[in-house]
């Protein structure tokens, strides 16, 4: 079964860092660059994220993530470069297509924002074990029930995609067409999805009973196997980032 989390099991300073510090970095990177509003601010944060990813030895895992949103970014460049309303200055022409400066700049801004978000999240996602995050959330007072909901998603999804492959094979072996014209493909959607959905919904009943038997509803305070309080470095970094954010707001308001 393939796990849906992108966590890379390496022992680097990034994986040892407390999840909340990384969350704090995401918030700072996105908010500060949006508040700053200048292109170079985006550049700085993209640079920092890339630096962290390289030193965390996970830069290779980032490329598929970026490639995914690349097609959308290209569409944005095409549409705004060609048709944006503020288009006045011609940048270059490729055959009959005329790209304008204003639209391209607008598209560049959007792409920088998206790239910045993707990289900041990549720093978090690739270095944090989901179970660890859930446990940390519970330790600062999140309801364990919510914790259960989050961690059981990680068990259910691989299980369901396993069932999905079984059903896909089963229906195909009965002669159902899953390739061909749009109508054929659309018609096969319901026979494919309904067995999985039905079985997983019926399973919820058994799961609920199983949980209740094991004292899920009991309000006792739970104890933890692993104690993970924030280290001094983590605290210092968090304070730094809050200061940075405040500075960004101050600069924006003053100027």
């Amino acid at each position: 079964m393939k796990s849906m989390s992108l966590y890379v099991d390496l022992d680097t300073w990034l994986t040892r860092m407390h999840p909340f510090t990384k969350l704090c970095y995401i918030a700072t990177a996105i908010a500060a660059s949006l508040i700053g509003g200048k292109l170079w601010v985006f550049g700085v944060f993209i640079g920092i994220s890339l630096g962290m990813l390289v030193s965390g030895k996970i830069i290779k895992k980032v490329f598929p993530l970026i490639a995914f949103s690349f097609t959308i970014l290209i569409t944005i460049f095409l549409i705004h470069g060609l048709f944006n309303h503020e288009n006045v200055t011609l940048l270059f022409a490729a055959g009959p297509l005329r790209f304008y400066r204003e639209g391209m700049l607008y598209a560049l801004r959007i792409s920088c924002n998206v790239l910045n978000m993707l990289l900041a999240f990549a720093v978090f996602v690739l270095t944090t074990r989901p179970a660890e995050l859930v446990e940390d959330l519970e330790q600062i007072g999140f309801s364990p029930k919510i914790g259960y909901v989050i961690s059981s998603v990680f068990q259910i999804v691989p299980q369901m995609s396993g069932t999905m492959n079984t059903i896909l094979d089963a229906q195909r072996s009965r002669g159902m067409e899953t390739e061909g014209s749009l109508l054929t493909r659309a018609k096969s959607f319901l026979p494919l999805i309904s067995p999985v959905v039905m079985s997983s919904l019926t399973n919820t009943r058994e799961r609920a009973i199983a949980l209740e038997i094991r004292g899920f509803e009991a309000g006792e305070k739970k104890t933890y196997l692993r104690d993970s309080s924030m280290k001094t470095v983590d605290r210092a970094l968090c304070v730094c980032m809050v200061v940075l954010l405040a500075a960004a707001v101050a600069v924006r308001v003053m100027l």
Binding site: M4, S5, L6, L65, F68, S69, T71, I72, T75, I76, L78, I79, H80, L82, F83, H85, A107, I110, N113, V114, M117, L118, F121, A122, F124, V125, L126, L133, K145, Y148, V149, I150, S152, V153, I156, V157, M160, S161, M164, T178, L182, R185, A186, F189, L190, I193, S194, V196, V197, M198, S200, L201, T202, T204, R205, R207, A208, E212, F216, E217
Partner: protein
Amino acid sequence: MKNVFKTKLSTASLVLIPACIGINYLGKLFASVLKLPLWLDSIGTCIGGALGGPVIGGICGAANNLIYGFTTGDSITLVYALTSLGIGIAVGIMARLGRMEKLGGALLTAVVAGLVAVCISTPLNVLFWGGTTGNVWGDALFAATQAGGMPVALGSLLDEVVVDVPDKIITILVVFAILKGLPKKLTALYDVNDSIESLD
């Protein structure tokens, strides 16, 4: 009058949430395996809303996008948590008003959910993507409106309408078919208006 927002926060409802998130994921997966030009990624949210009511529906929707955003690195889905939240609540309310029992009501629910999705997604699209949605047909229309000189917001609204409303209609029809086939012993778990009868 029955309270529309009345929710049973029992173990059964809590277990429903991860199942619905899984179903959302499957819908998206099947849509991409079959290369359908729709998203179909809110089937689970709609089932959650229809079974558990608006609160559970909303939690399903928001949790779906938040969990994927924070674990698969797809930070773009994160901002659409608001849209999913809206869809879950809308379907939940319509279901509690008894609209999911007949086909006509289900279609009405689909249109309402689609419009809610459009209203929430359009500003997000303009803000984050400059108006595009990432769907081939919708973006072709958006390009056409931009070439024709229409404002970005209107173009983006149309872009969303042509994608979201048909998407939600198909989603709700699938949900309707599935709900009709669920055994009573399961749906009874989520019935808020039940009462225990004593035999003595």
